[in-house]
Amino acid sequence: MPTKVAETKKAKSAATSTSEVSAGEGRNPWEMALEQLDTVAKLLELDSGIHKILATPRKCLTVSVPVKMDDGKIDVFVGHRVQHSTARGPAKGGIRYHPGVTLDEVKALSMWMTWKCAVVGLPFGGGKGGITCEPKNMSEGELERLTRRFISEILPIIGPEKDIPAPDVNTTPQMMAWIMDTYSVNKGYPVPGVVTGKPVAVGGSQGRNSATARGVMYTILYALKHMNKSIAGQKVAIQGYGNCGYFAAKLLSELDCKIIAASTSKGGMYTSKGFDPEALNDHYQRTKGVVNFKGADNISNEELLELDCDILIPAALENQITEKNADRIKAHIIAEGANGPTTPEADRILFGRGKFVIPDILANAGGVTVSYFEWVQALQEYFWSEREVNLKLRDIMEKAFESVYAINTERKVDMRTAAYMLAVNRVAEAHRLRGLYP
């Protein structure tokens, strides 16, 4: 049974590829990640030895995680922690709890974290972790025991100077607090820098909640700047009204954009007049969805993607813009708040139609950037104001955007390929400079 789920998941999570890489339903994500690397390596004329190093994760640890369930019986789960690269710094990346987690998926995601950290210039490599489980069927106590036992199993390879986990699919700030506690108890002293995405009370950073959306907003602003367009009056449609979608609506609305549509997995809403993001959030908190919002029409997720708007923010799931609907996308700018919302075929179609796609590893890198700030603050034991966090985030996002845009213009490739070229080149440069031991 889990195999089937795993394979669907594989195909979905593998969608974060460069536009020049072909896709395939049900393909192994790790193979796809390798193919992306091959494509960029050719464009960069990458040294074959460094290519081989980058095509191999530095460390993969698979552990079994026995947990006493609430009914008194013992269940054994399988978890992984993969460190794809530590060339530019300690490994960084989330831990996900999902029935579809496989080692190959975690390997692919960790490689992808390497590129994401490199594209924004953070001093991190890439890592990822996951446990194959269905958290929706587990109690809080079971999740706590699962988290603590998993962390104690991977304890030898994590730490503020080695590998720093963070939240991902189905993992929360509360779980990050348990990770911090488990690691600290084992060390005998508090180590807040071992994990990011913690609640503020145990060393989390101000501004972490809105960080991903804020990064998305900045990249949209810089894209508009290059198009000589003003942000005011831009019509925005947002797929997904979770953390990223809600804050993106709020921040863009503050810049006088007109937010005309939003959706969740249960369906979407549209109003040509634009809506108040706070009011929709209240509605969402009450009804757990955005449909039947006063003054708005109900629409499907598919309709939302094809709306007549200027900016489309896919902030929900993978594989939303495909060869089936890419022809009908009307937005000029597609800013990927989610990971992998655009398939490689769709990427090619959008590029051909002159659409400006801000790729996930750039657009949603605000999250890992503020995770980096959280780690720095933990190491300094000195905390920054939210304003300081936001200004520093803007500085990093702007530099990253401009670097990617410069490659996009010079090499005449789409923004995704440009972002991968920048990232792979930075990691390769670190390998060249460090040399090979012994």
Binding site: L221, Y222, K225, S230, I231, A232, L391, R394, D395, E398
Partner: protein, 108 residues
């Protein structure tokens, strides 16, 4: 990060400096007539005397601070006593009122 160059200069250099800065991509400046004295100013009865100067304020990205300083220094009579001073001040943020653009975007 943004920096403000606050320059106290001899008024006669102003036009050539504006031209050179604009040619090098600086798109805005503010100029104020000021009176002031410095360590090398003329004195009367042992007290420094006010002299006419202009204050030029230019906000630039930190990446072009050095080149802007070089342009101003070369044109403002480097090596001449009383030529003036440049102060480099960190600017936390900038906001363009017409568009709400902020940071570097607000000045370029």
């Amino acid at each position: 990060m943004l920096r403000k160059l606050e320059c106290y200069l001899v008024p006669s250099k102003l036009d050539s400096m504006r031209d050179a800065l604009v040619k090098n991509g600086i798109e805005g400046m503010s100029v104020t007539d000021v009176k002031g004295f410095g360590t090398r100013s003329k004195t009367k009865n042992g007290l420094p005397q006010f002299e006419d100067r202009v204050k030029v304020e230019v906000v630039v990205d930190e990446s072009i601070v050095d080149s802007a300083i070089n342009i101003i220094r070369d044109l403002a009579g480097a090596g001449t006593i009383g030529a003036g001073k440049i102060f480099v001040v960190p600017v936390e943020d900038a906001i363009r009122l017409s568009t709400k653009e902020a940071g570097r975007s607000a000045i370029f």
